[in-house]
């Protein structure tokens, strides 16, 4: 039987396709996000092969010292985390009653280890796509650890795959603590973040450690969050101060640049912090 050809005008074709695009545009984001994650899950193998190839090409020159440096950074971050946790414990020990003496910052916390499929790290976006085992209690906003330091938060997830928005992403905002003050940290996009307009009375210098705050952020201010859902019980290291310079807007303020505490591009797996996991 001869095939019947139906002639569709260009205008009609464009209209129909545009309509399809607009439907996609207005569709619920959690649904379309699942399609994106599904694509990554289906093509996980070629995507990770390509990523590994690019990583090898990037790191060929510094292969000799990359491994010990990474191990060193990892242990150093662990040490900083323990230090921060210890200080927090000591403070609580002094202030709280006997009931709180038994408090453990990570009690009731679950860690889900996830393999990195792809890493999108450029000036426009800084994001990892990770594959995790079937875990419960996954929600958006949960913190993600890489080499014992906070690297970002879960921005989207479906069964087995999740997007991690790095704290260096230009659209990322994260409460952070530096020099004893809690401020909002915003991503720069060039593998760094900034803490803008910090008062000069706070003595911040290059090399100071920056910790992810366990407090909530309202606008640019960090506030206590006793009544709200928290994704972190204890402060954890995010990075180090790489640059401190006088703010362009006000000479009495600092603009602080923060570099990650680990080499995010070389991460092979990460750990997602699940607070109060469902049993």
């Amino acid at each position: 039987m001869a095939r019947k050809h139906t002639k569709v005008s260009r205008r009609m074709l464009f209209t129909w396709l545009m309509l399809g695009g607009l439907i996609l545009l207005l569709a619920p984001q959690n649904l379309t996000g699942k399609i994106q994650l599904g694509f990554v899950r289906v093509f996980r193998w070629p995507l990770s092969i390509g990523g590994d190839f690019a990583l090898t090409a990037n790191t060929q020159q510094t292969l000799e010292d990359a491994v010990p440096r990474r191990k060193y950074d990892k242990l150093l971050n662990h040490s900083h985390n323990l230090g921060a946790k210890l200080r927090q414990q000591e403070e609580k020990f002094r202030k709280l009653s006997d009931l709180y003496k038994k408090y453990d910052a990570w009690e009731g916390v679950d860690f889900v280890v996830a393999d990195v499929i792809t890493a999108n790290i450029d000036r426009a976006r800084s994001e990892l796509t990770v594959a995790y085992g079937k875990g419960t209690g996954m929600v958006k906003g949960q913190y993600v650890l890489g080499d014992n330091s906070i690297i970002g938060t879960i921005s989207d997830f479906s069964s087995g795959t999740a997007h991690v928005k790095l704290f260096t992403d230009p659209t990322s905002k994260m409460p952070a603590r530096v020099g004893g003050v809690e401020r909002m940290m915003q991503g720069n996009g060039d593998n760094s973040a900034k803490i803008p307009q910090l008062l000069k009375v706070h003595k911040v210098k290059v090399g100071d450690k920056v910790f992810a705050s366990n407090k909530k952020m309202v606008g640019d201010e960090v506030v206590a969050s006793n009544n709200q859902v928290r994704f972190l019980d204890a402060s954890m290291i995010v990075g180090k101060v790489a640059q401190v310079k006088t703010s362009r807007r006000d000479p009495l303020l600092w603009d602080v640049t923060v570099k990650p505490a680990c080499d995010i591009e070389k991460l092979e797996n990460v750990a997602i912090i699940i607070m109060n996991p469902r049993k």
């Binding site: 399809g20 994106q36 093509f43 790290i121 720069n188």
Partner: protein, 163 residues
């Protein structure tokens, strides 16, 4: 138009863009290069279909931006380019580079505008710089890829065709 080859080519470019090129700071947008290639070397109807298909592929790897803006942005841009090609021939490499540069700026701006206006996505402060450098990279690399792309698609691109 060989649609199976087209699908394989788009899939390969999508995986390459998301996997290998994702780790580089400044990189060409391969899907955008393909958009210009098909808009310039196919009939107008084929160019319209391929533009929307390439936009859909760009949306699949467009996270954290939700799906939709790339499909519409690339679709409009590819259609405009296909109609423009009926009037102005884009044969020489500098012209192709210029077309890619303009298409990258237009598609990028439209995509981000739609994401911000309709889906209230936060706009990165450095988005204009990124858009500019991606357009520059694409316009440098793009014309060099036209010949291998034509070979893959079994197309003759040297003869002047205006539809």
């Amino acid at each position: 138009m060989r649609w199976f080859r087209f699908a394989v080519l788009i899939l390969a470019a999508t995986i390459l863009q998301k996997g290998m090129l994702a780790r580089f700071g400044f990189k060409p947008d391969l899907l955008l290069v393909l958009l210009v290639f098909f808009a310039v070397h196919c009939s107008t109807s084929e160019a319209i279909i391929s533009s929307f298909a390439i936009g859909l592929a760009a949306d699949l790897i467009g996270s954290p931006m939700p799906m939709g803006p790339h499909t519409v942005g690339f679709g409009v841009c590819g259609t405009v380019l296909a109609y423009l090609h009926r009037v102005v021939a884009i044969r020489k490499m500098p012209h192709q580079a210029l077309a890619i540069f303009a298409a990258a700026l237009l598609a990028g701006a439209l995509t981000h505008l739609l994401a911000v206006l309709i889906q209230s996505e936060p706009l990165a402060p450095n988005i204009y710089t990124v858009l500019f450098w991606t357009s520059v990279c694409s316009s440098i690399v793009g014309p060099l890829l036209f010949m291998p792309l034509a070979w893959c698609m079994n197309m003759k691109i040297n003869r002047l065709r205006r539809r």
